[in-house]
Symmetry: D2
Subunit: 138 residues, 4 copies
């Protein structure tokens, strides 16, 4: 693994100055990462459910974290494609978690998948697949 939890946390804080808006890093391993989003007003839809963009933002940054465990702290890796299926309504006013795993990390592309869960629930609320473009000169 090319980064520690502390290094990656510091890096994400720098890259995502809005910070908590995207989620906070919880666990890390070689090619995978877990993040949590403490849902607050800005992430909600009427009825207390978590908004799609909040889930997409969390999913996106969690795959990014999983990718960085393999390629190191590369600031210029960018998402080129994201596909997300919304499976169930998230539990109202409950944090959401994302667990991402890289399916492939090549020379120029990384592909990862990520499940999003309501805290305490077993069935995922969303599933997403993402492709990251990795800058050549690293």
């Amino acid at each position: 693994m090319k980064v520690t939890l502390e290094e990656l946390r510091a890096f994400l804080d720098e890259q995502f100055p809005q910070g908590a808006a995207f989620g906070s890093l919880q666990k890390l391993g070689d090619g995978w990462a877990e993040m949590k989003l403490a849902v607050d007003e800005e992430h909600l839809r009427p009825g207390g459910t978590v908004s799609g963009p909040a889930m997409m933002g969390l999913a996106d940054v969690t795959v990014y974290a999983a990718l960085l465990t393999r390629i190191g702290l590369v600031p210029l890796a960018v998402t080129t494609n994201l596909n997300i299926s919304f499976l169930r309504k998230p539990v109202a006013h409950r944090p959401i978690w994302a667990r991402a795993k890289m399916l492939k990390v090549g020379r120029t592309l990384g592909v990862g998948e990520v499940f999003v869960y309501s805290e305490g629930a077993e069935e995922p609320v969303a599933h997403s697949t993402m492709t990251y473009s990795i800058p050549p000169e690293r």
Copy 2:
């Protein structure tokens, strides 16, 4: 067309209380809609570029608006799948626009596509396809 611009604006304000965070409705026609997001600090990534989740949020709500021109003010239509390709870096500190068009509106599913642009630029910064599930009893 089953709604007017004013009716749909009022409806979106209700559905998305965060309002400006997702964008504001600009134009509307039968099966299509245009929205604009006045990018501010919360939507930015380092270097002044617009974040992916901000583009996804705008794309999502713009297809929702396009769908509602066909089915009326249905609050329970939900996104079931979203696919987005990020094509170019948005221009820093410039508003983004989304133009959505429905490809199909069936009994239970609506599929739309949407292009996202930096204001004033010709080439799209993102392209997204979305599926909405339409509630049966309307």
Copy 3:
């Protein structure tokens, strides 16, 4: 589980008269299925690699099989969306396998994911997510 391996095999033979062109059912469980495609000339690209459409066809029918273990032998379930990431070059002239699992089976929609492998290899050659529309009157 609503079907046996034999029932589902007979049903797929009926639904896909081209048969071997799409693959043959190998294993089945509640919400999952495994199929194998004995790659022959019609599935190949120059260099002996398996064509994309051959992988997509196998992936599609394997998720369909996984879905039917939950809803029974419904002939009118149709794919509404398919997303596939091609991860690695399949091994030349080697059969490919697909392992599908349903992520959700609702009243009107089923979502599944499927990994495709070259026989004997550990890393997947492709990953796909699919949405099936389930006919209402069943």
Copy 4:
């Protein structure tokens, strides 16, 4: 435009020896292409409808053709991601057409979209977005 219709036809025949199984090139312009698939038994599902894999195969090769108008006859460009929405049932026993357009052709990635139609019908039967990886040393 970096290729003529005749050059690209010859190239596709070489790359796809199964030929007609994937479709035949009809028209070509800078960044776009049209192909036609004369549907026969191997492409059908019960009821005479065109199979999903037949549409995906045609869509895939049509975007490939559109890409090659921009980058020239590069044999090693490969699909990395394909997303397809099936919108309507194709007309039975009728040829299908695909019209593809590149949304972006960068140094290492090309993104295109393609609509698939039943011959003579106005509404598309499918819409697909694809990403191609372009080999670096060309």
